[in-house]
Amino acid sequence: MIPKKVQQRFFIPAIIVGLALSALSTSTSGAALNGAALYEHYCAACHGNQGKGGVGVPLALPDFLAVANDDFLRKTIRLGRPGRVMPAFQQLSETEVDAIVAYIRGWAPAHTAIVETSPIKGKSERGEKLYASFCAACHGDRGEGSHGTGVTFSRPRDLPVLAPALNNPGFLAAASDVMIKTTLIRGRQGTPMLSFLKRGLNEQDIDDIVVYVRGFAQKPLPLPVKAGADEPPTIERMSPYGMQQTLDKLKNAIGGANLRLIRTESFDQAFAGKEKENKHHVVVDSCDFNFLNQALKIDPRVGLFLPCRFILSEHNGKVSISAVNPKRLSEIFNNSELNQLCDQMYKVYVDIIEETVF
């Protein structure tokens, strides 16, 4: 029998140390074994297998990795950038996040660690003027960032790299003052971001800008258009007309809304063939190519909304017309600019459907 005092003095601390070492060991082996696989699974589709960017911004830039410490990367993975495409990976364990961070860190020419986190002092009023002159053209008047996603491999765009939204709560939580300051001092090769020292500013000017940027947290922008989490998944109305008349009215309404009619066919024609198709469910595909072009600039993944499709269904002599509710589907993209477009598209769909059944 081991006396209670001995238990308290030796075994409990030993268990704690053991658990801590075990956790450390798991973390280390996780980083060594899983970083590449985890990166490939969760990050590569957007940021590229080698971190060169795509829908997501490039990560393998030496100037970025020189200023982004592990804490910044961890918080960015965890919190994402609300409304700016990068999702919050809250389902990942600490070990998995560490493994991804270690893998990304492997692209840095040498290990860098800006661990300094103390706030920088400066004059926000001066910073505001300097920000307007030196930053707003790319990052927006109120730090809202540039439009679109990542880099421009798939479509032409004004800037080769998306300018980050400096007012984004995810960014402000992840980036320390020193990180922002160092970015301003170094610039970021491979992007339009030049060294502010080379642009003629001095260290005090830069500090003032950092203080102004930090102040975005106190002046949040009006909440962006939210995706419709509470919206029904489809827009649906009953038609007072028969199938053929509803179809004719729908085609007129599509033309009236300046959408191009692409095709009309039974839902199952491609599966069943013309002989056996079920004519009680008819698909009408259309597209507004001007609108699509705008949407592709905002997010190249919008193909998931395509084509603009209306379904006519006939059941017991009653005809209904339905379509995907773009406000509801937009929720999975975490892109507030896309939410705005989906809001517009929703109104177009509702107008077309209501004109059809009017």
Binding site: S154, A173, D268, L296, R301
Partner: protein, 153 residues
């Protein structure tokens, strides 16, 4: 409470509120294919068929845009399904039809291609049709497997 402390509390409250919206990484299934677009779309059709599905239609998007004067990369929508399943959905759950057949979007990004789909599990979230749960789970498993097959070198 000092100024910095209240600023931090405000920021974290905002993040917590907004992060609920962004914690949906797996609702969008997406992979990068490190092959030229033509090879990638060919492999996609093969992978769909190998998983027991029929390709219903391949819709070109870039043609419509290019004819309107827009510069764009290659871009396709690939619709697919199993005829018997689609027939059953038509008969029993027509409310799902706007989201069907299943669809994978594929487009060129430089020398690579990106392929993506919404996670079919969303249909269960949207429509809550219990008898369809196992079918939707199977679709999710198959689409994940198709995309994984494509992402392999």
């Amino acid at each position: 409470m000092n100024f910095n402390a209240s600023l931090k509390i405000m920021l974290w409250a905002l993040i917590l509120m907004l992060s609920v919206q962004t914690a949906r990484a797996e609702e969008l299934l997406m992979v990068r294919i490190e092959r030229p677009f033509d090879d990638a779309i060919n492999d996609l059709q093969i992978a769909i068929q190998e998983h027991g599905y029929q390709v219903a239609r391949i819709q070109r998007v870039d043609v419509g845009l290019a004819s309107g004067g827009y510069a764009t990369a290659e871009y396709r929508l690939v619709f697919f399904g199993k005829p018997a399943e689609m027939r059953e959905i038509e008969d029993r759950y027509p409310q799902l039809l706007p989201y069907l057949p299943l669809k994978i979007v594929i487009f060129a990004e430089g020398n690579s291609a990106l392929a993506l789909s919404y996670n079919p599990a969303l249909l269960q979230t949207f429509f809550k049709i219990d008898p369809l749960q196992s079918r939707v789970q199977q679709w999710e498993k198959d689409i994940r497997s198709i995309l994984n097959q494509l992402s392999r070198p």
